[in-house]
């Protein structure tokens, strides 16, 4: 277990130069205290976003990716939420230490966020022009008229035809793709340095998704906004991002560049996730399946979160938590890639382990070779 504030885990690159980073998240733990106990929704997450770059946060529902974003935006109700530990630095300023007033100035101005469901994030009783102008007037000292002009301008930027007419429309008069454009326009109206997009295309059709992704890319190129893209779609990740953070059960299990993570996944979860996507030339063959389900958030496994479902697990996995190490080591939270305490495994054994597990997975029989001490985690 690590508790000390760590230097940043940088995936195989030059030494961390803090000035490069727009946003740094260090060992963030967001817990929810609810009636049935405590949910560690975010449990020690660290990553960094460089200026103008795109980072992808990937994971399935309940892995903590949205809570991470909401914590950064400080949009969570405290209580029931509690930020147990961690630092969020935006341009070197500690976001968690800001007063509510300072935070309001930061939110929208410097960091903006767009949400998954474009219908529920717009107010149905105001015109879209009003809503964008409201956001503008909150952050910039401009007149009503100037704010509306800015709203029209930002709608034009997101490729909406005849924005003068559109600003007078209500959200229900627009299609899903159009509403998502409005959300993006609103988020961009104050020229933020960081845009957090939480599943921006999940509710949209593929052809509309292609339009929105194209749009986000173009705007990024024009404005130099950094993007934190939260998604479960590895296709979107491959398309859009430079760096990837893979989350599982509230923890970062692997991070690296998009090529590293998607082409040579190291963590068994990433590997399983990629293999369970039906792809070309796989017709009729059985899909790889990650066995079991995501662990109960009230009762996370003691060691590695993924151990109960992992085909490669061995002695240290159920007992000891493999965190991504600070300052060096491969950025993957898996005992296969590091030395376990009291279970230091030499390279040879590591290779054997992986090979045996791969064979076992391929022949669809349980890996029995090296899992002597594993017990099913209680549901």
């Amino acid at each position: 277990m690590t508790t000390a504030a760590p230097p940043l885990p940088v995936p195989a690159g030059p030494a961390p130069d803090t000035a490069d980073y727009l946003l740094e998240v260090r060992d963030l733990r967001t817990h929810f205290h609810v009636m049935d106990g405590t949910v560690k929704a975010v449990d020690g997450v660290s990553f960094a976003v460089k200026r103008g770059e795109t980072i992808g946060i990937v994971g399935e529902s309940g892995c903590g990716k949205s809570v991470t974003a909401l914590t950064i935006m400080r949009l969570l109700d405290i209580p029931p939420a509690e930020i147990a530990t961690g630092e969020i630095l935006f341009e070197g300023r500690d976001v968690l230490a800001l007063s509510d007033r300072e935070m309001r100035a930061l939110r929208g101005n410097d960091i903006a966020m767009i949400f998954q469901e474009p219908m529920t994030s717009l107010n149905p009783v105001f015109t879209v022009g009003n809503q964008i102008a409201e956001a503008v007037r909150l952050h910039l000292k401009v007149s009503r008229r100037e704010a509306m002009d800015r709203a029209i301008e930002s709608l034009r930027l997101v490729g909406i035809n005849s924005p003068e007419r559109r600003v007078k429309q209500y959200p229900h008069e627009m299609s899903g793709g159009m509403r998502q454009r409005v959300m993006i326009a609103m988020a961009l109206s104050c020229e933020p340095k960081l845009l957090i997009a939480d599943e921006p295309t999940t509710a949209l059709d593929v052809t509309i998704q292609a339009q929105i992704l194209e749009l986000i890319r173009r705007i990024q190129a024009e404005t130099g906004t950094a993007l934190m893209l939260i998604t479960h779609d590895l296709g979107v990740v491959a398309e859009m991002v430079h760096d990837v953070v893979v989350m599982y059960g509230g923890r970062v299990v692997e991070q690296g560049t998009v090529d590293e993570v998607l082409l040579q996944p190291r963590h068994p979860y990433t590997e399983g996730l990629l293999a369970s996507i039906p792809s070309k030339g796989m017709r009729g063959a059985r899909l790889n399946v990650i066995k079991g389900t995501v662990p109960n958030p009230f009762n996370m496994p003691k060691g590695c979160n993924f151990a109960p479902r992992c085909p490669y697990r061995f002695e240290p996995c159920p007992e000891h938590d493999p965190r991504i190490e600070e300052g060096g080591g491969p950025p993957v939270a898996c005992w296969l890639w590091k030395q376990a305490p009291g279970h230091s495994i030499p390279q040879e054994l590591h290779d054997q382990q992986v090979a045996a597990a791969r064979r076992a997975a391929a022949s669809n029989t349980p890996a029995t070779t090296a899992v002597p001490t594993y017990h099913e985690a209680p549901r």
Partner: protein, 391 residues
Amino acid sequence: MSTQPRGGWTNGRPLVEVKNLVKYYPIQSGILRRKVGDVRAVDNVSFDIQHGEILGLVGESGCGKSTLGRTLIRLLPPTAGEAYLGGVDIFAQKGGALKRMRRKMQIIFQDPVASLNPRMPVSDIIGEGLVAQADKTNHWDKGDVREKRVGEYLEIVGLRRDYARRYPHEFSGGQRQRIGIARALALSPEFVVCDEPVSALDVSIQSQILNLLIDLREEFGLTYLFIAHNLSVVQYLSDRVAVMYLGKVVELAPVEQLYADPRHPYTVALLSAVPEPDPRLRKKRIVLRGDVPSPANPPSGCRFRTRCWLFEQLGRPENCVEEEPPLRELGHGQAAACHWAEKINPQAIGRAANQDTTRTGADADDDDGAGVMPVATEPESINAEGAAPRA
């Protein structure tokens, strides 16, 4: 029950035959609820599904794919057309005969949360259909018989027997979808409409459910109409694929043929829009302009022409505007509804995709989407894409 093996559709009459199926929803207006128009959700659709075949049905939201599935099994009344299941006219059945027919055609719904009654234990959710379909031979109205069957089917879909006493909220999304599948299969159907069964699930759970659907097809000799908007899922599962756009089937082909050599510009664009989870495959894509027009007021001629890249590339030929293209046979079991299907080739597709990158940015302002074609916006497409006529 049909137990013909996969590929056995070459002989005999197909299990499901659909001829000129039409489903309109009336648009009503005013206090008198006068009918002022129709939403043409499904407009003159014909296809067959052979015994043991999986027909994939893809299209964007609002193209009528779910309406088609539901009309086919008489959850919605058809407006016109014919449909046969095993040679029996589905739309002509009434009363007891219809009820007996319902046992043969079942549906698995998309949303595993909304499709299970939260106040019923699983035993009642699965047992409800059994009670309704009980007769002198199956004795499903008897508690112990029913309980046994519910238990069997829970095990078949990979759940424990004792889950029958639990309520839906106690299950995860994937488990709920399994319950939905058990409910459909408990009646021993021949034909199952799978209406986006994996769309609401996470990737790792999605693959479990897809594997289950394939196993069940083999085990029970089922025939599926598999409705989805995810093209890779459809490709993985289907034998043949029908692509729908605005209530019409625009292309119908064996799966390999469709993905290797699409013959309708919409299919081409749809395939090009799917992001692949491989950063090496970042590709130039054909991005369609605007949104799907309103099905209450579809464009004249070919319904896809307002967003069609080929229409623009060929200099807006007149027959696209004036004549509705029929679904024509093109060989290899492939059919497409495009006047210019023969003009689609890799060069044309490449040109359309390249045009995209050149125009991104500069002239995006006077366009109504991040689309491909630098053309003046047509009045029709403006109308269709935003201000669809409403009641």
